[in-house]
Symmetry: C2
Subunit: 395 residues, 2 copies
């Protein structure tokens, strides 16, 4: 009966929770490769022994001082100018997205996302009642000139400017695209000119298989408009639930006031620190990068062999392939048939915030495959099953 | 510069983060007694060994199935009718409060709280733009007849009914009061009649030093209006950040849709389960209950000895004493002087949502002392310092 009393924002959410894949081969979720999950036992033993009084009490609201310093160092080593006071530790990066929405938006506001965009972020944005300005990507990333025109057009129409720009800069999820340097510079320049905060989400940045790393948006920002979202999920393990937001300190301080969760788990923060301090992180990163590079190669080969109709750009890192099917394909329907055939994939429409009609036509020709989670045997067999499901729809 | 773009809700929050106490004796925060923090090493070793693939991947949105079952069993053993599907695991209980606000309220809505109420919940409620109907407590807990009149009065004035009732039922924080059975029955009856959800927050329930346990609100609810908020913070350790909300499944399912954090940490969930399964919980609970009972006795004796002007009701469990000073005392000012004298305490006004003028007059005669965190020597010395600060203000 109480259901009548539920807030409007809960009604924004109609999509059922995403299935975990069951016994099917899973290309759907950004799970870590099980064989590379690190051995954190020694780190946990130290956290629960020498650091017990820190690890088991309430932690400081902004994160353990050592953790904030570790994150700031990580970011400085990556070219950004960040001090520990600029960092808010969160319960995973998605918690950072949530706090960012709470800090900068009101219900009914608009934000900028790429088309396609990170599909798990979409329901978070919707749960805050946000609308979308969708901007297409090309091979250099989000089209900043297009965004400039869209902002200009909104201004002309007397519409409020978007409250922030959300973008995945490296090995984009799902498209795999890494922004070029000049595109990054253009985005930061536009955001600075318009004073629109940018949330740079780059969980895969350290999982580069080849090619040259581009500077982060954060490192290009001298005006204090870029906030960097980070996580240990892809460089250590998703189950730790440690993320962060780094940005101008006065705004991070305000964000912290909205973080009323009793402090992010000090135990898992200490485990991260001890694993890293103990020298575990560097060899682990080398191992996962090699694993994912091999998985990517295996999956690209399988797709080329089994799905010759499909085009794809080969990502230089990350977790995902973004397949483009011939005109007339409905990847949402194909994903259902693939699921029946024993492989879980995600059809294109899930990755579009879905308000730009011009983008809608094409979205069901795309499909995301995660190569992170499956073994080589599963990759071969899963792509074969997907191809069979696709083939049966063409005959 | 971006500060101009911050959402209204961030402006609701002006209160600085609470200090951790530094080298002062700390009676201010609900920290666990350091000497009773459990040894979780063996549980963590199993979680990171045998359960590694579960503990280090993304966890299910609603919590580990074993965790939901463990919580349901805990609640059934306490007389409530709860199945695992009724349970949403959260990142600590405060995260549960946040999700409850997101599910049931819109900015500008009103909720019911006791006066005084849990002071950390107040800024959470404010961050959602909520207003308050404050209801006084007597020795039996929140005054349900008064609440009934207030609801009636609001109705008469054409005001919207409050969106939910928040209450700490056992060893109330800060007042220490445990609701009587008949008062509990009256509250559930009123909430059922008015169809107003109740959020029952009872973190201290298992820390009973003496006397008879009363049935939980949840166990008295047959109409599906009560949601139970739980946590392992007081029965195991705050640093684990594992809490839950249990309520009618359709609403818990909706609440889960708003929980977009990548799943509560499966590692710490598994640590909780392994510690409990390994037989650690029962002796640990016995040990902490004895420790806090001794601490309470020590602090009550110290207050009677050093502060004869002060009256207090002796709580039968929990973490706190709620002191009532003579007329004319300003406990907010006294707390500042006490801090200078080397003991951290919290003055009365922090515990009142602060909108009922009739309640405002008296609130600065109260002060909360936590007896949870300090040693006996610190309790004696801290109360002595407080008495000195109080004495110096009277001369």
């Amino acid at each position: 009966m109480l259901e009548a009393t539920v807030a409007r924002r809960a009604a924004h959410l109609a999509r059922p929770a995403h299935a975990d894949g069951g016994s099917a081969i899973s290309f759907d979720s950004g799970y870590a490769f099980p064989g590379t999950l690190p051995d954190l036992s020694a780190a946990a033993e130290r956290a629960l022994g020498a650091y017990r009084r820190e690890a088991l009490q309430y932690g400081p609201r902004f994160g353990l001082p050592d953790m904030r310093e570790w994150i700031a160092t990580l970011m400085c080593d990556d070219g950004a100018n960040v001090v520990p006071g600029d960092v808010l530790v969160t319960n995973g990066a998605k918690h950072g997205i949530e706090l960012f929405c709470r800090l900068f938006t009101e219900e009914g506001d608009t934000i900028v996302v790429s088309a396609p965009t990170y599909f798990t972020a979409i329901p978070i944005f919707r749960s805050f009642g946000l609308g979308f300005v969708e901007v297409a990507q090309d091979g250099e990333g989000i089209e900043v000139d297009t965004l400039r025109q869209q902002l200009h057009e909104r201004e002309r129409q007397g519409l409020e400017p978007p409250k922030f720009i959300y973008n995945v800069t490296d090995f984009h999820n799902p498209s795999g695209i890494t922004m070029s340097r000049r595109r990054r510079e253009a985005l930061v320049a536009l955001a600075t000119e318009r004073q629109i905060p940018v949330l740079e989400d780059s969980p895969y940045r350290k999982l580069r298989f080849e090619g040259q790393q581009e500077p982060s948006l954060k490192s290009l920002d001298s005006a204090g408009v870029v906030f960097a979202l980070g996580t240990v999920s892809k460089i250590m393990a998703p189950g730790l639930r440690i993320g962060w937001v780094a940005g101008p300190r006065p705004l991070i301080a305000r964000m912290g006031q909205l973080k009323s969760d009793g402090g992010t788990c000090p135990l898992t923060q200490r485990v991260v620190l001890e694993f890293s301090k103990g020298g575990g992180l560097v060899p682990h990163l080398r191992r996962v990068t090699q694993t994912y590079a091999d998985n990517r190669d295996r999956m690209v080969a399988a797709v080329r062999r089994e799905l010759p109709d499909v085009t794809l750009a080969i990502p230089q890192g990350g977790y995902y392939l973004w397949l483009h099917f011939p005109a007339g394909t409905d990847t949402d329907a194909l994903a259902e048939r693939a699921h029946d055939a024993g492989v879980s994939v995600i059809g294109g429409s899930a990755f579009f915030a879905g308000e730009s009609v011009c983008l809608l036509r094409d979205q069901r020709r795309y499909m995301r495959l995660a190569f992170s989670h499956a073994t080589h045997v599963e990759i071969d067999e899963g792509v074969r099953r997907l191809a069979a499901a696709y083939g049966s729809s063409r005959t």
